[in-house]
């Protein structure tokens, strides 16, 4: 067929091609657009959480400082952690789940596109809802793990804890739906020949994460519902004088909270497992071992939660058991680290920005993992728990680990997402500032912990030897600030259309997502490829393997492929569902059952719930056949 004829033939379909404009984004069900929405909004929340961290570090620059009040400081560390965990790292991972998983498995969208949109809108509303507390001078101040009975109505009157617990409940809902969506997608929508063990490692790690999400979020949801009952209706699940037990919260929270650590880190591990091989020009060393160690981490991760509770007095048997399981997690983790290093061994390593971040992940995560082995031993944990040593440890894991992995992913996949390269020089500057900043900020915290500085401390005493390392940490935090700033400038330039065109495959990569145009058309694959190996695109390019790239199997576009229509029901359901939770606020915090207040709450929530029900019915009846 001649080129001219193709053009004539496809012009007739132009009206079916991708729509533009605000409304098209609000009603989108396209996984790539939802991925971009996740990316942008989580980066904005990340900036907010970073500013909160700067407030903390400035307060701690000097001993007995009065830069901010104790109350505001407590709000800062609570919101910093809540934001970074639930509104930055998790949704940043979700951005990659959304954008990448269908591309990597050779699918045109996720299994439930509208539910995917609902997940995003719930996340966005949940995040805005928690942060709106600042407008009401009721910012959460109970710490990110909100220990009972401090969060009860007696010790936390007002609505600060209400914003926190209801916001988390909304966010949990969003994550659970996304979890089921991706499990279904991965199990059902793989391209022909894409067996489970031919799936890219990022998809594998994400697959494990979704199981962690759907199994761990119910735990915290139960905990939060009990808390809602305690605060609203005067039940006594956590309030000791009336027979409740504050440790019930700790068990429920950490049954969620520890798997959550792996929810945060496994996607970054997946990204690093994609990036390192590409820039070493070799396959991932021992891929099956990397996959199985990820699965192992997922399983064992559910059996270690009480290592957060070595100081509560569970007794020597429980302490020994949880110490053993916790130390065992070091084994699959070590397997991964050695496999990453030997992926590079014997390769031709090029130090492009994505790879700099990925290598940094391996190095810094190793430090965080090793310090974790230390407080896996309860006798040591008794000295480290709730001290700055712990703060150092989890920042190495979450900033040095998860965040570096995710930044590697942003720099690596940006060309695929937006069709243009990010500025390499700015990327390298940002990386250097990050590397210095992270180590200068967080390494001295190990020493501060060993000197006995407690975490969550608004003021530390003068004359306790804590001054110098705190000053170092504050200086380091500004390095991180500028690192983020430089990257954000880079991203903003990219969004404004700067940078050279990326082409389909700027890194000479191995997997399916690089075999389609950048940015991909909204249908992803004009013709679904048939996969014969775990590196189908590499094999086509370098090993004379069968063709999988669109250029070869589908020919030049544009093509028309029937796709699910956009829908405004997801955002409407999200609005109503958010409002149901918001309606808890006025009556909450009393700590006693009040018939009138309860009636009022039902009167408000009833109509909203009916509205939500109507939207769900309309959703069900909507014609979503691809067209």
């Amino acid at each position: 067929m001649s080129t001219a004829a193709t053009h004539v033939a496809t012009h007739a379909h132009v009206e079916h091609e991708e729509e533009t404009g605000l409304w098209s984004w609000i009603t989108t069900v396209d996984h790539k657009r939802i991925g971009k929405l996740y990316l942008i909004s989580s980066l904005l929340f990340f900036a907010l959480g970073g500013l909160e961290a700067l407030m903390i570090r400035m307060q701690l620059f000097r001993p007995e400082n009065n830069f901010i009040s104790a109350q505001f400081y407590n709000e800062m560390f609570t919101m910093h952690a809540t934001t970074m965990v639930f509104l930055a790292i998790m949704p940043l991972s979700a951005a990659f789940f959304n954008f990448l998983i269908p591309l990597q498995i050779g699918a045109r969208d996720v299994a439930f596109p509208r539910m995917n949109a609902l997940s995003f809108w719930l996340f966005l509303f949940g995040g805005l809802f928690i942060n709106s507390s600042f407008l009401f001078h009721a910012a959460p101040d109970g710490g990110w793990f909100g220990y009972a009975n401090l969060t009860g109505s007696k010790y936390s009157p007002g609505h600060s804890i209400d914003f926190w617990m209801l916001g988390l409940a909304i966010l949990g809902n969003s994550s659970m739906m996304a979890g089921f969506n991706f499990i279904t997608t991965i199990l059902n929508l793989r391209a022909p020949g894409m067996t489970l063990f031919r799936m890219p490692i990022f998809t594998w790690m994400s697959f494990v994460v979704q199981f962690l999400v759907v199994m761990s979020f119910p735990m915290i949801t139960v905990g939060l519902i009990l808390l809602i009952f305690d605060r609203n209706y005067g039940t006594n699940f956590y309030f000791p004088p009336n027979g409740g037990d504050p440790l019930l919260w700790q068990h429920l929270f950490w049954l969620f909270g520890h798997p959550e650590v792996y929810i945060l880190i496994l996607p970054a591990m997946g990204i690093v497992s994609e990036v390192l091989p590409v820039f070493a020009r070799k396959p991932l060393f021992g891929a099956p071992f990397v996959i199985f160690s990820g699965i192992m981490i997922g399983f064992v991760g559910f059996g270690v939660w009480s290592h957060h509770m070595f100081t509560v007095g569970l007794g020597p048997v429980a302490d020994s058991a949880f110490a053993t399981t916790t130390m065992l997690i070091a084994v699959p983790t070590a397997v991964k680290i050695f496999n990453w290093i030997f992926t590079m061994w014997g390769g031709k390593i090029s130090f492009k920005t994505p790879n700099l971040f990925a290598i940094t992940f391996v190095f810094l995560f190793t430090i965080g993992g090793l310090s974790g082995v230390m407080h896996a031993s309860p006798p040591i944990d008794l000295q480290q728990q709730d001290s700055y040593f712990i703060v150092a440890h989890f920042h190495y894991v979450l900033v040095g680990g998860a965040l570096m992995g995710l930044f590697s992913g942003i720099y690596f996949y940006w060309p695929k997402m937006f069709g243009r390269m990010l500025n390499e020089r700015l990327g390298q500057i940002s990386w250097a500032l990050f590397f210095i900043g992270i180590n200068v900020t967080f390494f001295p915290m190990h020493f501060l912990g060993a000197m006995g500085m407690i975490r969550r401390s608004w003021q530390y005493p003068a004359g306790a030897g804590l001054d110098m390392y705190n000053q170092m940490a504050t200086v380091g935090a500004f390095f991180i600030f500028f690192a983020v700033l430089v990257s954000f400038i880079n991203f903003a330039r990219g969004l404004m259309g700067h940078g050279e065109l990326a082409g389909d495959d700027p890194w000479d990569a191995a997997t399916l997502e690089w075999s389609i145009p950048s940015p991909p058309p909204h249908y992803n694959f004009a013709k679904l490829p048939t996969v014969h190996s775990d590196r189908p695109f590499w094999d086509e390019k370098h090993e004379g393997g069968p063709a999988v790239s669109q250029a070869k199997i589908a020919g030049p576009g544009p093509h028309h492929v029937a796709m699910p229509p956009s829908s405004y029901w997801p955002i409407l359901v999200a609005v109503f569902q958010g409002l149901v939770f918001v309606a808890f606020i006025p009556g909450s915090g009393s700590g006693a059952f009040n018939y009138d207040a309860f009636l009022k709450q039902v009167m408000i929530q009833g109509p909203i719930a009916l509205g939500m029900l109507f939207c769900i019915l309309a959703w069900v009846r909507e014609d979503d056949t691809p067209r």
Binding site: G286, T324, Q383, M451, S457
Partner: protein, 411 residues
């Protein structure tokens, strides 16, 4: 288990731990020793409980550092050796190596086994049966003629409040707040609990922390291992480690480590009431103390009217170096400088929120519902203004409280 078999087991375990920390780990220099200005240091323990943690702490630190160095060298060599130098073609496409995989699966399992055995032994040693009294060099409890331990363990109930500590000597009937004394010649057993939210009792030099949880009682027991000279008490600092609300970071305490004979003297003095060289100080002070309504919440031995239990017990306040739960140093220039101490205490009485936010129930203190209530503070702003309470009366209270000293004032 009898105490002697516990002891034998302890010694055997210690031998294992010592063997595990080969390579002269214990000979490592103490980082951040307390005497060099690190009062909260975790690396300089002075009790058997703390030393048990210390042994394994050092062992694991060494192992972890060795592993870190090896991995870093491997990574650095890889990055340097295999950096792209522009040679054409792709490197050999190696997919893996089963023998290596098995190797680096087994190696960490070995390390974990090496670490978990002493860990579990230490866990049980630290949480085994509590000691009942001081022991002789053979590990036998020293028994008196009445069949009771000669120097029985000192048992202290520790209660975390918002945001201060209460200490109650179970057998001696002494109550103190924010500071207490322990002997160096017999075991000390602490019963930790809380009547508010969860706190955590942590004196890093004594050893690890344990949470003080409402509705539960946790225990820590230990023997001081340092030999404290008579008349030269050791000042051991501690803090609340679990986030407990607005002033969580300002909830500290001080322990007076005493020679055994000194401790007995301390107990006998604290069982009694403070004596006053000038009876008018006591009389004026008690009058002002009652007039301000302080008696409703505070107790002072020797003052029949002051029996409140809501607030800290203020007996022998003149002994304390720090005010407001180990926060405000009253004697930064030494004990002779009484003027500073008076100024600090005056500030604490008239405007407590300026030293510790959230102390009072007033509208200005954001959320301290269980906080202090100053009856004389008529407008409820948390500040005792001269109009509300005459400065001379505040002065009388300050003199009264500061002159209550025993033989053990903290320097």
């Amino acid at each position: 288990m009898s105490t002697s078999s516990v002891h034998a087991w302890l010694r055997r375990a210690m031998a294992v731990v010592a063997a595990a920390s080969l390579a002269g780990c214990d000979a490592l220099p103490t980082l951040w020793p307390a005497k060099d200005g690190y009062p909260y240091t975790t690396t300089d323990p002075i009790s058997d409980f703390g030393l048990l943690s210390q042994h394994i702490y050092v062992t694991i630190t060494v192992v972890v550092c060795v592993v870190f160095v090896l991995v870093t060298i491997l990574l650095a060599v890889t990055l340097i050796k295999f950096a792209d130098r522009g040679t054409p073609g792709n490197p050999e496409q190696v997919h893996g190596n089963i023998a290596m995989e098995i190797g680096w699966t087994i190696a960490p399992i070995g390390i974990v086994l090496f670490l978990i055995v002493p860990t579990i032994r230490t866990i049980f040693l630290q949480q085994d049966a509590a000691p009942i009294g001081a022991k002789d060099e053979n590990g036998q409890v020293l028994m008196g003629e009445d069949g009771k331990p000669l120097r029985p363990a000192v048992e202290i109930k520790v209660i975390g409040r918002r945001w201060w500590w209460q200490f109650e000597y179970v057998n001696e009937g002494i109550a103190t707040s924010n500071q207490f004394a322990i002997p160096d010649d017999r075991p000390v057993s602490l019963f930790l609990t809380s009547d508010t939210v969860i706190h955590s009792f942590w004196a890093p030099r004594i050893g690890g922390k344990r949470d003080a949880i409402p509705g539960r009682v946790n225990r820590i027991w230990f023997n001081l291992t340092e030999d404290i000279a008579q008349g030269q008490p050791d000042h051991i600092r501690g803090e609340c480690a679990e986030y407990c609300g607005e002033a969580h970071s300002l909830m500290r305490f001080e322990i007076l480590g005493l020679d055994g004979a000194d401790f007995d003297k301390w107990v006998s003095e604290y069982k009694g009431a403070p004596t006053f060289a000038d009876a008018s100080i006591k009389q004026k002070g008690e009058e002002a103390f009652s007039a301000a309504g302080c008696t409703g919440c505070h107790s002072i031995s020797g003052f029949a009217g002051a029996k409140g239990t809501q607030g800290p017990n203020l007996t022998f306040l003149g002994d304390r170096r720090f005010l407001a739960a180990g926060i405000k140093d009253m004697y930064p220039n030494g004990r002779a400088d009484q003027a500073t101490a008076r100024a600090v205490l005056t500030q604490w009485i008239t405007n407590p929120n300026s030293i510790k936010p959230g102390t009072t129930k007033s509208a200005n203190a954001s959320r301290a519902l269980d906080g202090m209530n100053i009856p004389a503070d008529a407008n409820g702003d948390g500040i005792l203004s001269p109009e509300e309470f005459a400065p001379e009366k505040v002065d009388a209270i300050v003199s009264y409280l500061l002159s209550q000293t025993s033989s053990f004032p903290l320097q």
